[in-house]
């Protein structure tokens, strides 16, 4: 988990650094060079994370999409349309302020909401697997509202 957090942080750090100078190449160039505007391999998990966004966040005890979540899903669907052979797993997570069993169910509702959003944006349902970790695998450690907000999430991972 720690390693995954570090990987994400470095991806974000690079995304910020790239934004300061502005992406130098167009999408077409990136496709032909095999790299995206941020230097990640086109079609890679890092590419998905920085160009579309890999996660959608939820309110406490909620599984409905916010406008930001809908926008992320629209970008993900666009990204997946560019790589039609890719398949993904959407994993649902919850914060620690709930009971284990119910949170497994809640994480699946969130993952399914995310999946249905992608399907509604044209992604073939057969490309998307769903799973729930409930509150068993928090993304961020700590018992703060800040951590909880990061942990009420669904994350898209390329298979």
């Amino acid at each position: 988990m720690k390693i995954r957090d570090l990987a994400l942080m470095s991806a974000l750090a690079i995304a910020v650094a790239a934004c300061e100078t502005g992406p130098s190449s167009t999408d077409d160039d990136s496709m032909s060079s095999g790299k995206d505007a941020y230097g990640f391999a086109a079609g890679s998990q890092e590419d998905l994370t920085v160009t579309a966004g890999d996660r959608v966040f939820y309110g406490f005890d909620m599984y409905n999409l916010t406008p930001e979540g809908e926008a992320t899903i629209a970008r993900e669907a666009e990204w997946l349309a560019k790589y039609p052979n890719s398949t993904v797993t959407v994993a649902g997570h919850c914060d620690e302020r709930g009971t284990k069993e119910y949170n497994l169910g809640l994480g699946m509702r969130r993952a399914t909401t995310h999946k249905n959003g992608l399907v509604g944006s044209g992604v073939d349902a057969g490309r998307i697997a769903v799973i729930s970790y409930g509150k068993e695998d928090p993304i961020v450690e700590g018992s703060s509202e800040e951590a909880y907000a990061q942990n009420r999430v669904t994350i898209v991972t390329l298979n």
């Binding site: 069993e101 497994l104 729930s132 068993e136 450690e141 991972t157």
Partner: protein
């Protein structure tokens, strides 16, 4: 481990995330939920383990994720939650030997934490079918579900006392967690203890002592938080920590000593 926390023994190798172990009331078996693999090809299913041989096997093959397992009082079947294609969870029952599957509920929400009455005739469970999470009691075939929790806050993890006289539960209200008991008809609600995050009450075979998980908050680096097993008696006056080698959760009381 023993009831005083001594002589613990690890049953699984720690490679996979394993939660909610529960003893069979009649044989040397436990049922639990485990994650196998990580992210890719991840399986999250209910398993059975024979405590004498150490043999583990999935309860069955299912389309959805299965969780929240518990044996029926005769030990012949396992009742559990299974997720459906629209993200909801309903209750099912399976005979592990014949693999015969019976659907008990068909929920528009999340039905989970099922537990039979000691006579096997009724099931208490947790559901958000009415909006907020509440406790419901129904016949063991799934008919006539009736809500029994009507207090403030939300309710979860109901467990029927082996004596049949009380149902223990977790309650969440205004940011605090409580362990409480009520009569099977929902009357006489009493909160026994409270804390930051408490959950998962389980009864001692005598029906007078309850084991539960108590979690304390961690700092922003994830440090300092603990998860420990505590016992409390029905009066709420006697409460004590069960020493465990590290953090612990999801205690369960065995009907006899299998070691």
């Amino acid at each position: 481990m023993d009831q005083d926390g001594a002589n613990h023994k690890f049953l699984t190798d720690g490679k996979n995330l394993v939660i909610t172990p529960r003893f069979s009331p009649v044989g040397p078996e436990i049922t639990y939920m485990a994650f196998q693999g990580y992210k890719k090809n991840l399986e999250a299913q209910v398993y059975l383990m024979n405590l004498l041989t150490g043999t583990k096997q999935p309860l069955g093959k299912f389309k959805g994720m299965t969780y929240s397992p518990r044996f029926t009082p005769d030990g012949k079947k396992v009742i559990f939650s299974q997720t459906r294609s629209q993200g909801t969870s309903s209750l099912y029952e399976m005979d592990p030997h014949t693999h015969q599957l019976m659907q008990i509920t068909n929920s528009i929400g999340i039905d989970t934490s099922p537990c039979h009455s000691p006579d096997g005739r009724q099931i208490v469970f947790n559901s958000d079918r009415g909006g907020k999470r509440q406790l419901y009691v129904m016949n063991s075939d799934g008919s006539q579900p009736e809500r029994i929790s009507f207090g403030e806050g939300i309710y979860a993890t109901p467990v029927w006392s082996p004596r049949g006289d009380f149902i223990a539960f977790t309650k969440m209200h205004k940011g605090r967690f409580y362990i409480g008991v009520m009569r099977p008809d929902g009357s006489g609600e009493r909160l026994l203890t409270e804390g930051f995050v408490l959950e998962g009450p389980t009864w001692a075979p005598n029906g007078r002592l309850i084991l539960y998980t108590r979690i304390t908050p961690s700092d922003r680096h994830g440090r300092g938080g603990t998860s420990k097993l505590y016992a409390i008696d029905l009066t709420g006056k006697i409460e004590f920590l069960l020493p465990t080698p590290g953090n612990a959760s999801d205690g369960a009381w065995s009907p006899i000593d299998y070691r």
